[in-house]
């Protein structure tokens, strides 16, 4: 339950941050949230992974569906992927991994510096 809370907090903050600032602010958000949270490094990873992944999933679908997959199809071809769905997946996984790494970093720091 606590994990879900952090996922949602990270997702919302990452969405706002990257709307206004460059993409890597999603990582900063995941780190800042988890470094202040009392969760294990493993859960912190999941919070970052799920949080940033969720934002990227929602925004990607928001772009892709009304576009009828024109752009995702073309970009998939650019990267040598067989279809646009895979391009969507690659995008989301990339965001999730960056978020997860940042969350894990926060979790480990929190644990190490916690008295």
């Amino acid at each position: 339950m606590q994990l879900l809370k952090y996922i949602i907090i990270i997702a919302i903050c990452a969405g706002i941050a990257t709307y206004l600032l460059p993409w890597y602010m999603a990582a900063a958000v995941a780190f800042v949230v988890t470094v202040n949270a009392k969760i294990t490094p493993g859960k912190a990873f999941l919070a970052g992974f799920g949080g940033v992944g969720l934002t990227w999933l929602v925004v990607t679908l928001y772009r892709d569906i009304p576009n009828e997959h024109i752009l995702s199809g073309r970009m998939a071809k650019v990267l040598g992927l067989p279809n646009g769905f895979l391009f969507l997946l690659v995008t989301i996984i990339l965001g999730a991994i960056v978020g997860g790494m940042a969350g894990w970093s926060g979790g480990v720091m929190n644990k190490a510096f916690r008295k």
Partner: protein
């Protein structure tokens, strides 16, 4: 220690972010690119996007209304010229900014700035050709006239207001993929774009190869096949031409006397060279024709034009209507230039084909020292122009280009000429001269009768065009328009001796004496890049003319009566090959059939009963074209494989025996080339690509050449030797048919779409129709009318 280790994940994460935020070679920064919020995903335009909006545009004097029809063709309605061109700049930038940026960078030799050092040689060639020098000269002329200056200033301002409104998220996709940003637009960029067109249309040259070949053959003549004497193979004029300007309409009087031709060694310097890239010379160019009312069903003239240019996405053209007091014009514009280039207004219509008279000449320079060159017995100082080439990720490269009286040294010891020539070559090119084509477009868009049209095109100096005209009064006309030089016979056909003053370009031929025709007795006018005039034209010129399409168009139009627009569509789609119809029977007659094996005979049978049409599904067309390719490569060369080839027209005349001297078709070559063709055809058959459209693989390529943004293997017939000249990457870039009835009836299509965004539904909307040979009825609104509400899909309201 434990706390120290705890920083490790953070360092790892930072490293990951750093890598994802940094471009690696040609791979863009993946994190930024894939970011759904700001990266490539931001270019995913909703297919149901409502384009309607209200825009604040500082500097406009009155509100401007722009409405878009369902094809996203912009119709701008402004209260004055300034607002009109400002809005046009804004619209061009909105839909096509990246393309405008890249094309003008390419024109000015600034590609290395964004693509890195692989483009340095390209950039150097552009600078050494004098592209920027020419654009600067023209800009002075454009800014000297208040009409063109006002037009340019407003247009540039409109583009810049759009650029200033952009953040990273809203940048066109290609900027994010390549990793650069738009810079402010300038009037110079407009001038560069026009030089880009001038280079595309007058940049082709055979001077260097022709010089070297002539010198070699002069020495070897007697040892060669007597069929192959230089003057015969490279005759000054194509025989059998049906010229652009019908014979009976040429003005006979020349106000200038022909200068005297100097000694042969000055006209053509003795040079040797080697290792040329093999040139391809088969019919590129454009068609236009106009019928008088006497030949049409409606009784009103019909004007048709299909300029053949590189087939790219985003398309070179952007379709629009411009309406303000004194102007109401529809047609295609060039993003990067104000005005409508090809189109029509309430009273007149016009179309262009390339004129191809040679306006680009080379000079061999003798230099006694690194800073000086000989001219007329004097040692003159070069003028140096330092070309600073910025290179992405590398230090700048400074290229010192030395200028002579003739023009820049395009090639020298620091930039070796084709053929590995040892001496420096200077370039004289009409595109270097100040000229104001923008003013010409300004006036042309506002012309309402023949006199105004003639006055307008007098300003159009380079690239020279065959400018076709038709009006609602029933007139048709055609001008071979450009600035030409009164040359001595042979001037500029070869590399000239730059130290001799007689080689300098002489007087301008008065523009009013350019060949032209007005309402000719034959009832039609047609140009397809063929020879401009017959031998009665008093001035000497050479050029790179093509005849096949002209022969076919004239053949069809001569028997055309009561023509409809549908007949004109059909002629634009015509794929009858005059080349095949003439050459194939002779080839078949001389091919030693008894020596062919079974597979080869099967291929031969494909040709039986063929109608000489390069239709998309024809296998016979593939067999002929592949055979022709190999046969031409061998029959058209004089000695070495990298020699300049004679024109296909010339070869056709020789093999069909239309020539004064008999020609022996070499059966061994025919047989060997048929064997080669058979091998290629076997491979095509194995790959299941024997249909003509598969074999030629017409591709409309995105400017980055990315296949993902391009469309290949288009199901379309034709080739350079047919009216529908669709080649691999070159072809009809805009097909237009305008019937000059009182209510103008116009049709058009281009192989692209109005949006330059590969993520947009409108990116290549028209391509399918273009491939099928279909047309859109153009939604031109006459000055006195209002648009139909049902035609208005989106509206932009621009507020000052």
């Amino acid at each position: 220690m434990r706390r120290l280790l705890a920083i490790l994940p953070l360092i790892l994460t930072a490293a990951l972010v750093y890598i994802l935020n940094k471009p690696m070679g040609s791979i863009p920064a993946l994190g930024a690119l894939l970011d759904p919020m700001n990266g490539c995903w931001a270019s995913a335009e909703p297919t149901g996007k409502d384009f309607s909006q209200t825009i604040q545009l500082q500097g406009t004097q009155q509100p401007v209304k722009i409405w878009f029809d369902e094809r996203l063709v912009a119709h701008i309605e402004a209260a004055n010229d300034h607002d009109l061109y400002m809005a046009q700049g804004y619209v061009h930038a909105y839909f096509r900014l990246w393309q405008m940026d890249l094309q003008t960078r390419a024109a000015g030799g600034r590609v290395s700035e964004v693509l890195g050092d692989k483009a340095v040689d390209f950039d150097r060639l552009q600078r050494r050709k004098g592209m920027v020098y020419g654009a600067e000269n023209s800009l002075k002329a454009m800014e000297a006239d208040p009409r063109s200056k006002g037009m340019l200033d407003a247009y540039t301002e409109g583009i810049n207001q759009y650029i200033n409104s952009l953040n990273y998220r809203r940048l066109p996709l290609e900027y994010k993929m390549i990793g650069f940003k738009p810079e402010p637009w300038t009037n110079l960029k407009c001038a560069l774009l026009l030089k880009y067109m001038a280079d595309d249309l007058t940049g082709y040259t055979e001077d260097i190869q022709l010089t070297i070949l002539r010198n070699r053959l002069k020495q070897e003549n007697s040892m060669f096949n007597p069929n192959m004497l230089f003057d015969k193979v490279f005759a000054e004029r194509n025989k059998g031409t049906v010229p652009v300007i019908p014979a009976d309409t040429i003005p006979q009087i020349a106000s200038l006397k022909a200068p005297i031709t100097p000694a042969d060694s000055i006209m053509c310097v003795p040079l040797t060279g080697e290792d040329f890239a093999v040139n391809e010379n088969e019919g590129k160019g454009s068609n236009n024709w106009a019928l008088s009312g006497s030949r049409t069903k409606s009784g009103a003239p019909i004007l048709c034009n299909d300029p053949h240019l590189g087939l790219n996405l985003p398309s070179l053209w952007y379709e629009m209507q411009l309406h303000a007091p004194g102007v109401n014009v529809y047609g295609v514009s060039l993003p990067g230039s104000p005005g409508i280039i090809i189109g029509f207004n309430d009273n007149i219509s016009w179309g262009f084909t390339n004129n191809y008279r040679d306006v680009k000449d080379f000079y061999a320079i003798k230099e006694p020292s690194a800073n000086t060159y000989w001219f007329a017995g004097k040692e003159l100082l070069y003028t140096n122009r330092i070309e600073q080439i910025r290179i992405k990720g590398k230090p700048d490269y400074n290229d010192t280009v030395r200028y002579t009286l003739h023009g820049p040294l395009i090639y020298d010891a620091h930039f070796i000429a084709p053929g590995k020539l040892k001496i420096p070559l200077a370039l004289t090119w009409m595109a270097h001269r100040p000229s104001n084509e923008i003013l010409s477009i300004y006036l042309l868009n506002r012309s309402s009768n023949y006199e105004q049209y003639v006055a307008a095109i007098q300003q159009f100096l380079c690239p020279a065009q065959n400018m076709l005209y038709a009006d609602v009064q029933g007139n048709i006309a055609l001008w071979g328009q450009g600035q030409f030089i009164n040359k001595w016979r042979g001037q500029g056909r070869y590399i000239m001796d730059g130290s001799d003053s007689s080689t300098l370009w002489g007087q301008n031929i008065p523009v009013g004496e350019n060949p032209h025709a007005f309402n000719p007795a034959q009832g039609y006018l047609a140009s397809a890049n063929q020879t401009v005039t017959d031998t009665t034209y008093p001035y000497w010129y050479n050029g790179y003319f093509y005849e096949f399409r002209s022969w076919r168009i004239n053949q069809v139009l001569q028997r055309t009566t009561a023509a409809t627009v549908q007949d004109m569509f059909a002629l634009q789609q015509d794929v009858f090959s005059v080349l095949a119809a003439n050459v194939l029977p002779v080839f078949l007659q001389h091919l030693p059939v008894h020596t062919l094996n079974n597979t080869e005979r099967n291929w031969l049978q494909q040709l039986a009963g063929w109608d000489y049409r390069l239709t998309k599904d024809s296998k016979a067309a593939t067999v002929f074209m592949v055979w022709w390719y190999y046969a031409y490569n061998r029959l058209a060369t004089v000695g070495r494989t990298d020699d300049l080839k004679m024109s296909p027209e010339r070869l056709m005349e020789m093999v069909t025996g239309r020539d004064d001297a008999p020609y022996m078709l070499d059966e061994d070559i025919l047989y060997a080339s048929f064997k080669q063709a058979s091998d290629s055809l076997n491979k095509l058959q194995k790959a299941n690509r024997l249909e003509w459209y598969h074999a030629k693989n017409t591709t409309v390529k995105h400017l980055t050449k990315l296949p993902a943004f391009s469309y290949g293997d288009l199901e379309v017939g034709g080739w350079g030797n047919t009216v529908n000249a669709v080649k691999g990457d070159h072809g009809p870039s805009w097909r237009m048919v305008v019937q000059m009835t009182k209510d103008i009836e116009a049709y058009g299509v281009y192989p692209g779409g109005q949006s330059g965004n590969p993520g947009s539904k409108y990116y290549a909307t028209f391509l399918d129709k273009w491939v099928k040979g279909e047309y859109y009825r153009l939604s031109f609104v006459p000055a006195a009318s209002k648009p139909n509400d049902k035609d208005i899909k989106y509206t932009w309201t621009i507020q000052p």
